[in-house]
Subunit: 339 residues, 2 copies
DNA sequence: ACTGGCACTCGGCCCCGTTGAGTGCCAGAT
DNA sequence: ATCTGGCACTCAACGGGGCCGAGTGCCAGT
């Protein structure tokens, strides 16, 4: 029994099932995909595939549907990422061109992804961990109250209010400002803490409390704000999945409301820019049975900013979805590199 | 036929239907609510109520359910806003106390509302139109590039990059900064444009291009950023509404993804702080048949910052929901006033 | 190693009778 | 006048029975 044909049968099953959403039987398979064998032969192959755990039958007398394992094999060995048409590419490009700031870029991206893939889209904001400091500004709001503004190379701006134990004067502030900038500009956020920790020592003792307040707020904000943000869109697409899926809609919606969960879905530590597909049980959440997650990193050639991707039922069009996700990621990376 | 009893019957129907989600019949009504009359009498009242359009029967031989008009009457004349228990109030208070910045406050509020009402929650960010300028800061990033930061009394911070046709020096910038602040601080955002428009005239001709660039960016940003933002949460609650509602889940989810639509839901121009209830067709969207929107303004005693509210099926617990929405709004207003 | 044939299983569908909640109406009671 | 009890009627929901057909596994034959 040819091993190749068995794979062909699996591929056919996945493709048909994804297209029709119905268990696919040997007869239909033999007709629609012109593999030159009879239904009976296919049945034997199917029996073998089932034995190995790649497909299953919902009821005794029904067709087969792929298991998570079956999809996995399909994605790994049978599916080529389908590139997008020129028209699609152009549409993506022009839609993203119009963005005016970071929020807008991310917002557009998430809408775009949702629309193109017709799935739920998730986009991480460019990671602060990897971004560098472009400028740090200090403003005096009141004698004992300053404002700290950090601008990153990815266009993100974070601000904090610093309450000072003692009054600060403008001269001190200016001095501090320039020293902080000298120490921090160009550094990755994570490294800034080390660079500024010894700054207070360079000031007179009387000034140290104020300096310390500012520096510690800076360090604290960098650590704290490193927490990643995530944008979400296309949840309406969840309802497209007929009557079988809705039982799962609830937990999925719940999961999607938790930032932390979204972060985990996007692949946690796996900070490569590789296109990854997590199928059903491979996901870190138990409540996501029946759903797959397709993600990829985006950024410039040199560094990955963050990840984006989609979430949908395991029975999705993997080649097309993967192509769309990858294409969108590329354009977003390009746009961000320009700005 | 006593008009009062007819109202009592309507109230009973609404209450029972909201509780059970099933059409309510005359017999059950007579039993559960001890109005001292027989089912037959109630039937007569029901017939009258139906005649007037307050209730309807889904099938010939089924109980009655309230119409949108029926709910309207219920809300207007029969329902008292139910105040929350001490425990609930305390929970709200402590949950909101922990917030660290504006985003956090809004985020917590939306989660809180969703949880307390078990509906979809919507919270407008404090309106920039009504807020005032607390401080304007100018930083020189490069000789022809400045950064403009506007801090409002509601804690919101907006920043813009200003590209200058000619180099600016620090002295000019300092002068401009102080003049802008003198003119703008304390003003409502909408009024700032008028206050600063003549500023360029007070500078030397050579400096005007630079000043103009900054001022026009300021004005532009104030106009543009007046666009309201909205936070959304609790969409998972949409799935609670059994099998009849899900047909409507799709359009609702779609609607909720549009910021503009959300803004309209929250009541557009109706910038009072009054608790308002829009029932079914009263909503500005056709796709929201079967859903009601309960909103209220929040802010300080003097001014309303924005609105917040929830969205759920017309068959909701109005007294409880209204109470919860109002209570949350009060606490949010208080928190914002403090900070 | 593949194919055609065959018996078998079982979910989906349609038809149909039963059930029971709920209604409207009317004649009688208060 | 107003309410009540009784009564006939309607109709959605439920469940059982029978049919159909897609799909399977197995086996004997090419």
């Amino acid at each position: 029994m040819s091993d190749e044909r068995r794979l062909a049968v699996l591929r056919a099953i996945v493709e048909d099932y994804v297209a029709t959403q119905e268990p696919v039987g040997s007869k239909a398979l033999a007709e629609r995909h012109h593999l030159g064998v009879s239904p009976a032969t296919i049945r034997n192959d199917m029996a073998a595939l089932e034995e190995e755990g790649f497909i299953a039958q919902p009821h005794t007398s029904a067709g087969r549907i792929p298991t998570d394992q079956g999809y996995r094999l399909f994605v790994d060995r049978l599916a080529a990422v389908r590139p997008l048409s020129m028209a699609e590419k152009r549409a993506i490009s022009t839609f993203l061109e119009g963005a005016v700031d970071l929020d807008d870029i991310v917002g557009r991206t998430v809408r775009l992804l949702a629309q193109v893939t017709r799935q739920v889209a998730v986009v991480q904001y460019p990671s602060l961990t990897r971004s560098t400091v472009r400028h740090v500004e200090l403003l005096l709001l009141a004698p004992t109250r300053a404002m700290l503004v950090v601008i990153t190379n990815t266009g993100r701006v974070e601000q904090r209010i610093v309450e000072c134990p003692v009054p600060i004067d403008e001269d001190l502030l200016a001095d501090l400002r320039s020293k902080i900038n000298t120490a921090a500009v160009g550094q990755k956020l994570a490294e800034v803490a080390d660079s500024v920790v010894e700054l207070p020592d360079t000031f007179e003792v009387a000034q140290r409390p104020a300096v310390l307040a500012v520096v510690s707020t800076l360090v604290e904000s960098l650590v704290e704000e490193t927490e990643e943000r995530v944008a979400l869109g296309g949840t309406a697409n969840l309802t497209r999945f007929g009557q079988d899926f809705p039982l799962t809609v609830q937990p999925v919606l719940e999961a999607l409301e938790e930032q932390v969960v979204l972060m985990r879905l996007l692949g946690e530590a796996s900070m490569t820019d590789a296109l990854t597909v997590r199928i059903g049980h491979e996901n870190p959440l138990e409540s996501l049975i029946g759903t797959s997650v397709v993600t990829v990193g985006y950024g410039t050639a040199e560094e990955t900013f963050a990840r984006l991707g989609i979430l949908g039922p395991t029975r999705m069009d993997y080649p097309g979805t993967m192509g769309a996700v990858r294409a969108v990621a590329r354009y977003v990376g390009r746009i961000l590199a320009e700005s």
